[in-house]
Symmetry: C2
Subunit: 250 residues, 2 copies
């Protein structure tokens, strides 16, 4: 994982996109995630227009991108790193509703307030758009709106799958499904491997699966003892996919 550029603040403040250190190089056309992100719906001339309203930005781990219930001033495309999206209860209980990986779009719903809080889990690179500018940009591009809608539909499906997991699966099934799901997501963005990176903490995993940190730890330990997985630094190697799928399949 790339370390955040210490100059990121000078970049964040810039009104234009002349901000080409680090991951953002020559604008949208060269973007690493273009082909599997929302932007794949756009032609080159449109990309150049998008370039003009975008700001590449890099932030270190644990940076808050935006907060639940605040006015949605920006939307983001994640280009590197992992972001956690969560909702909180007044007493501090937290539910992570998703982890955003490179290619994921934050603020898909285009609503005027953020429904969740977004925090960088690792160092993160994003493409940032002022919401009014982005809305204006979308306005005369039905094919982009279509693409955004497709993404939203996909998100909705994932959310429903997660409801099934949260409401009806056991701790072991939750962990198994989570690992398989993360593996599949990394595969889609080009990192096919039986070793699944888990940059988030055990507490994050617990808050994503509706468990406690102790249950996550115990369950992973048990799966490791049974040679279903091998726990490695910042990740897990999946040893027995069949056994995992037995528990985690939908």
């Amino acid at each position: 994982m790339r370390i955040a550029d210490p100059l990121q603040d000078s970049c964040a403040g810039a009104a234009t996109r002349d901000c080409r250190h680090g991951l953002a190089t020559n604008g949208c056309e060269d973007c690493k995630v273009r082909l599997f992100s929302v932007c794949a719906a756009l032609e080159v001339p449109e990309l150049e227009e998008l370039d003009r309203i975008s700001q590449a930005r890099e932030v270190p781990a644990r940076t808050t991108l935006f907060e639940q219930s605040t006015l949605a001033g920006s939307v983001f495309n994640v280009t590197d790193g992992v972001v956690r999206l969560y909702k909180s209860l007044p007493d501090g209980r937290r539910q992570i509703v998703g982890f955003a990986l490179p290619g994921d779009f934050l603020g898909l719903a285009l609503q005027d307030r953020y429904g969740v809080t977004a925090e960088a889990v690792t160092a993160v690179a994003v493409c940032r758009f002022a919401r009014p500018a982005f809305l204006a940009y979308v306005d005369d591009k039905p094919h982009l709106l279509r693409r955004l809608h497709e993404f939203a539909g996909h998100e909705l499906s994932l959310a429903q799958e997660q409801m099934l997991l949260l409401g009806r699966r056991t701790a072991e099934e939750k962990i198994a499904a989570f690992l398989l799901n993360m593996q599949a997501r990394y595969a889609r963005i080009g990192t096919v491997s039986v070793t699944v990176p888990l940059p988030m903490s055990r507490q994050d995993i617990a808050d994503y699966l509706g468990l406690t940190i102790e249950t996550v730890s115990r369950t992973l330990t048990r799966l490791a003892r049974e040679k279903v997985v091998l726990i490695v630094p910042d990740g897990v190697r999946l040893l027995d996919l069949e056994r995992l799928k037995l528990a985690g399949a939908s």
Copy 2:
């Protein structure tokens, strides 16, 4: 709640919209739910066009509208009654991901397979559209796509709220939030009342909240004993909104 017209099958089979018994009267313009459904984005001439590709349909309770994983041949607008949307695990465990009320749109994601199963809880009236026809209809109407996207964004927010509920709330909080939520939803479609209709079974409520039927029953009984609610046939009267909000607030 209106009882399903026994002639509904003759209606369901009809290719055109000449099917005006029961709730569907003079087409979209007179539609009871038009103003708070997706269709509110449409002008009168567009509504007439929509009329031509729509089929009003009434089905009795427990009818399956569509099934999880099957090809999405139709999309629906619910005009009367209550529909449950759920996902199932191979061993029979079930998670209801939502109850659709009048004005709700089924198949919002416009994906080619249904992600959930939809079953009528009560007698239900829907406006049905063949998916290809609907897609063609949407194609040159960006404002409708925009409206669909808004609805999808709203759905996504609800789903995230439900994840918080499923993952982090206690049984009592789940019940309280459910009752307040149903009350608010009925209020939006015109039925403002402290008596909340609950046409679905206890098992449905349990499967929606990630509980067992016994826990739902016990919790409701306790709330009734504590004079927070009054259980009435097919519903609940909310007596102590403050107390409920204390438990159910986000």
